[in-house]
């Protein structure tokens, strides 16, 4: 298929999908069917112009649509869907990439008792060890004694998945809580591909509130195929004490157990990319001080300790000023101090945004200064200017330009225009 045919094919698919969407919208908008429906959603249309590393410029048009129908016959049933389409006005990046994707799409039933919920379709599942997108089912409910149970099953939605044969993922989480004191969850998932155990993971997650102004949250996950702990990650939160808060985080990751069954070679254990047998320990502290309701100051420190690659420290601070509905500004400085040359740099950021009547203006500058130049560049920066105009209630037009000078681009200019539309109507009269 030549380039013209590819383009024709792309536009034909785009038109068909757009027509299908409009037909669905028209159907749902029919008065007879919308006697009690509540329709709402967001349409975000973007056109982005950017340069590739070979200096060619590509211009892509994107439509991101999120749509929700509530009160489908009953106020406990709803339908949710979201996805995007791309049309290549000029150039087609990286060859024949997919030009659309369904992010989620499911029918939901939510009971008025016991937080019982059942979702059917393409669902996103966040339950303990599971952070998955699944074509199938998710269900949860509360039981007596502070117990909650959830389960999911279906076909995993993954990228670059080329395995033949069966493809199934399922899992569950059981939690128990003492309201206001603790909640502990135990979860597991299993993924089968080609009739083999592709992933088997288990985990414990918890939240503990032993004293006023003291919270501990985190989780540990275990890889039952490699027989090793993947991750331990916990945060101790103290405060607020007057206007001060302190968060202490610790985490540990075993690379051999964590980087397992990926669908991209980036994360396969290869020396120089993701080092095999590496073990990373991170300890960090964040101190947050709210000087006033509008002004906050933060200081943070992270120490990374690797069993093979040495150690690195990342520390700095930020100041934020914000006036809701009016504007704000912020500035930050961070220092990365590692043992390798690539991990030695200073990072600066300065931004401001202001709303004047229906117009919004944003300025953002990010500057990274390397101790040792990369590709001959010591100072890598990006400057962006964005503006938007609220044309009417729910409809906003906007655009931005970003100029950058980086180790990869001497001079890169990107531009984006967008139309954002929020729609929502209570059906029936």
């Amino acid at each position: 298929m030549n380039r013209w045919n590819v383009q024709q094919s792309t536009s034909a698919v785009f038109v068909r999908k757009a027509a299908a969407f409009l037909a669905a919208l028209a159907l749902l908008s029919a008065p007879a069917l919308t006697a009690a429906l509540t329709l709402s959603g967001d349409s975000s249309t973007y056109v982005q112009s950017r340069q590739l590393s070979d200096k060619t410029r590509v211009i892509g048009g994107y439509e991101y649509l999120d749509f929700m129908v509530q009160d489908l016959g009953s106020d406990t049933i709803s339908f949710h869907t979201g996805g995007w389409l791309r049309y290549d006005f000029k150039g087609e990046e990286y060859g024949k990439r997919p030009n659309d994707d369904l992010q989620y799409s499911y029918l939901s039933f939510k009971s008025k008792r016991d937080n019982t919920a059942v979702n059917l379709g393409r669902v996103m599942v966040f339950e303990g060890v599971a952070a998955e997108r699944v074509d199938g089912m998710y269900a949860r409910t509360d039981l007596k004694g502070g117990i909650g149970v959830s389960a999911f099953a279906g076909q995993p939605v993954e990228t670059n998945d080329t395995f033949p044969g069966n493809n199934l993922i399922y899992g569950a989480r059981v939690s128990q809580q003492w309201q206001g004191v603790y909640r502990i969850g135990v979860s597991a998932l299993k993924e089968e591909k080609n009739s083999t155990d592709y992933r088997k993971e288990g985990g414990v997650d918890l939240w503990v509130h032993p004293l006023t102004k003291v919270d501990i949250t985190g989780r540990s996950t275990y890889n039952d195929v490699t027989k090793g702990w993947m991750e331990h990650a916990y945060t101790l939160m103290l405060g607020p004490f007057a206007r001060l808060r302190l968060d202490t985080s610790v985490s540990m990751i075993n690379y051999d157990d964590y980087f397992f069954r990926t669908t991209t070679p980036v994360f396969t254990l290869t020396p120089g990319v993701v080092t095999p047998h590496e073990r990373m320990r991170m300890a960090g502290e964040t101190v947050m001080f709210s000087a006033t309701d509008k002004l906050s100051l933060n200081a943070d420190y992270r120490n990374y300790d690797y069993s093979i690659a040495g150690r690195a420290d990342y520390y700095g601070g930020s100041i934020k000023f914000s006036m809701p509905e009016s504007g704000g500004a912020g500035a930050s400085y961070h220092r990365m101090k590692g043992e390798t040359k690539a991990l030695q740099y200073n990072e600066y950021r300065l931004y401001g945004y202001k709303k004047i009547a229906k117009i919004g203006i944003t300025l953002d500058a990010i500057d990274v200064v390397y101790d040792v130049p990369m590709n001959g560049v010591k100072d890598s920066y990006a400057l962006s200017l964005a503006a938007d105009y609220a044309l009417m209630n729910g409809l906003k037009l906007g655009g931005d330009v970003e100029f950058s000078h980086t180790p990869d681009f001497d001079r890169d200019v990107r531009a984006l225009i967008k139309v954002l539309y929020h729609f929502g109507a209570k059906g029936g009269a």
């Binding site: 937080n115 939240w207 980036v266 930020s318 919004g360 990274v368």
Partner: protein, 146 residues
Amino acid sequence: MNRTTTKMALLLALVLLSGLYACALKASMATRHPLEITALPLCSECHTDGRSVVDHTADFIDRHRFIAEQQSRTCNLCHKESFCSSCHGHNGELKPSDRFKDSPELTLPHRGDYLNQHKIDGRINPAACMKCHGRSNNVRCGVCHK
């Protein structure tokens, strides 16, 4: 454990769970926050239960996954799937920081020159990349990482 024992255990668990469900009878949590939230919320100002950890403080981006894994219903009071998928897409195309350039106050990944910076971030903590790009949203990774 043989198959009969497994079946018996599953049946017992089902009966137990059904009994616990039948006795629970509590009203479900609201699906929408009763008050409109106009700024980053500090839930602990009103709530003393588990929702206090949902405070959207400066480091919330680092620990929001714990909240999502443990009490996603609390997230759903203000956020729907569209909010999650705007960053956690399956096949993302536009960077979140490009879509929301007019919201610089948000802590979004990949701001500025991320082509070079990803090499540094990936070296510091590749696990943070793996969470979003390990099994999904990695078509773009394959352009260079073949």
